[in-house]
């Protein structure tokens, strides 16, 4: 900036040609500063991304076409065989089903609960900060710790939940045998952890809604539920989209909870709660087959990409809706 500001005015053109002007080093530095600095400032992110993001992604792609030996650090090129193997595995499709099933069991009740709790916290209650911090406490707990505690609660024979059920005369639930109930149990852990987080985000969005709307609605005679439906929910749309997208990405990568759900961490004897990341981990670190694991990693990447694109399209449509209103 300084270089241009202090440059002397251009000499009149009638003068005889002058020997080329010698630019001092500091001036030259200043010019570089102007041109290069912005890129330098943003470069750390891109360098880091190239090293820890782009390179592994590309290298994983390379390995996914190979029969890779981790110890000898070498492999043999075999084309798309690993992808074909993965897609031919019934376990893969079970894992895909489980991943989406657990995602639905966790995301839907979680968002409904989060909206409800946020709406309650948005009212005039005593000790606001206490309650608001309270909903975030589960989020602070380490996922593995949460999973350990819940695994104990969901024990088939000596678990807390089944003890209560049998005490009141109901049949015990086979948490580790029935796919449906194992998904419910795992989704419960996810919900326990993430409901509070989503509540706070939605609460922040609710507080940004101008209070005048509610006052006007009250004057018009709208009840609390009508106000919630016609004012709160529509105003929450953009925030809800954000929450849904983050929940989708997190849901498709669910790992800790199913891994800690039994003592083996491999998704159950009949793959009842095997998720895609769990399957990937088992192929990689259980069977040391990094070629297949890499192929599965890329398949997961593509799945997330497709879901992301769908999300994007939905988002765009909804945002346009906003504009028209």
């Amino acid at each position: 900036m300084t270089a241009t500001a202090t440059r002397p005015p251009a000499p009149p053109t009638s003068r005889p040609p002058r020997p080329p002007r010698v630019i001092s080093f500091s001036q030259r530095l200043s010019r570089w500063d102007l041109k290069v600095s912005p890129y330098l400032y943003i470069s750390p992110f891109f360098i880091m991304f190239a090293v820890v993001g782009l390179f592994p992604i590309a290298f994983t792609a390379v390995i996914s076409f190979m029969d890779w030996d981790l110890v000898r650090n070498s492999g043999q090129f075999i084309g798309f065989d690993q992808y074909a193997w993965i897609l031919g595995q019934p376990q893969f499709w079970t894992a895909l089903r489980n991943t989406f099933s657990i995602f639905l069991f966790s995301a839907v009740p979680q968002l409904i609960a989060a909206i409800f709790i946020a709406a309650m916290l948005d009212r005039n209650i005593r000790a606001k900060t206490f309650w608001r911090m309270g909903v975030l406490v589960p989020f602070v707990m380490a996922p593995v710790a949460v999973a350990l505690i819940f695994s104990n609660m969901f024990g088939d024979n000596h678990g807390l939940v089944n003890n209560i059920l049998t005490d009141v005369g109901l049949p015990a639930i086979q948490w580790h045998k029935d796919a449906f109930w194992s998904h419910v149990a795992i989704a419960t852990m996810v919900n326990f952890r993430w409901t509070g987080y989503n509540t706070l985000i939605l609460l922040a969005a609710m507080q940004a809604i101008p209070r005048d709307y509610y006052e006007a609605a009250t004057v018009d005679g709208a009840g609390a539920f009508r106000q919630f439906r016609s004012i709160t929910l529509p105003s929450l749309k953009p925030t809800l989209i954000f929450v849904i997208i983050t929940a989708t990405i997190g849901g498709l990568q669910i790992f800790d909870e199913p891994r800690m759900f039994d003592q083996f961490g491999r998704g159950g004897a009949a793959q009842q709660w095997l998720t895609i990341t769990l399957y990937l981990y088992d192929i990689g670190w259980g069977q040391w087959n990094f070629g297949r694991a890499a192929a599965l990693a890329w398949i997961l990447f593509l799945i997330i990409l497709i879901i992301g694109l769908i999300n994007l399209l939905v988002t765009r449509r909804l945002v346009r809706d906003e504009g028209r209103r």
Partner: protein
Amino acid sequence: MKLSRRTKAIAAIASAASIAIIATGCSSPSDSGGGDGKVELTVATFNDFGYSDELLQEYMDENPNVTIVHNRAATSNDARANYFQKLGKEGLADIEAVEVDWFTEAMEYSDLLAEVPEDAKGRWLDWKEAAATDGEGRLVGFGTDVGPQGICYRSDLFAAAGLPTDRTEVAALLEGDWDNFFNVADQYKAATGKPFIDSANSVLQGIVNQLETAYEEPDGTAVATENADIQDAYNTVVERAVPISAYAGQWSDDWFASMANGEFAAMLCPGWMHGVISGSAPEVAGWDVADVFPGGGGNWGGSYLTVPADGKNVDEALKLADWLTAPEQQVKAFVNAGTFPSQAAAYEDEGLTAFTNEYFNDAPTGEIGINRAEAVTVATFKGPKFFQFHDALQNAVTRVFDGVEDQQTSWNTWVTEVGAF
């Protein structure tokens, strides 16, 4: 050595495949001393090998130029991940412990491991040594402990079912083949209505470990699905063991809780299981050990020490591994941690022969272990994929136990599954 399965917390943190691939490039090589003859040796073990500081100090006193640094990983799974990420590269300790579960995987890379010195050979039980010898006849593992299996039983529950309670009488009762064992189990179940043993998969483990050939031939061909012995083992376990078992597999929270409350009366019991039982049910008085195992001897578990061939102090490391796995030291390790020695000479040692376990009604567990170890006659050939095959078959048994699939469907599922290995 099996306790490890329970705590997988650390394993759960690892996630993307790519990170580990990069991480292989990093390393923290163990520093060795300068040229003044001083050597620093690193020893990496997991759980508890019984190598106490006092034991290691003994070696340092005898060899003043050596300093030993002992790193203990929490679980055998952590050690496994670390081992294969660094083997053949940099960053492994001078001496690395390997558990028998993943030892077959390590044997695929036996060329990257230093050979056991000639004068140490012949120290171990034959089958222990045979399992650590590769196709070219190189012995690459120093055996530490073994898991000779006896039968642990609750004498109070046996009495209630009208079975004998004295350990020699129980041994006489269960002496014989698996069929006899299941008959006694049926008798117990008929008398009490409760399961006889803890888990069906421990029976599968016991039977498979008595086969010469399990899932793979030594030349690498997979015979799992055609092997009639395996199909027999599966059918026997499903038909006879499942009905008399409390659980499908071991190590679940339920299983640990059941040890104290008398859900079952007996367990197949390697030496290291004694500590698991006494630790999970400290206030129960009835546990005892019988010197018997159905169908002959059986071994479950045990470990080896290996010396990576590209280490900085291979010669010194070999000397230390040699010393650590010598009978005298292994008996001390047994007293420290209950790891049962795999060295034939240790079985003459007073420290082992005279050992009794107070928790198990003062059973002479040292003497019983020796008898059980000597009863092992078969060394099952375990190829590199043994663990995968066996794990999948255990899942098949679990599916039947859980009622998810019937006997034939579950077998077919297993056949399809292992066909893709």
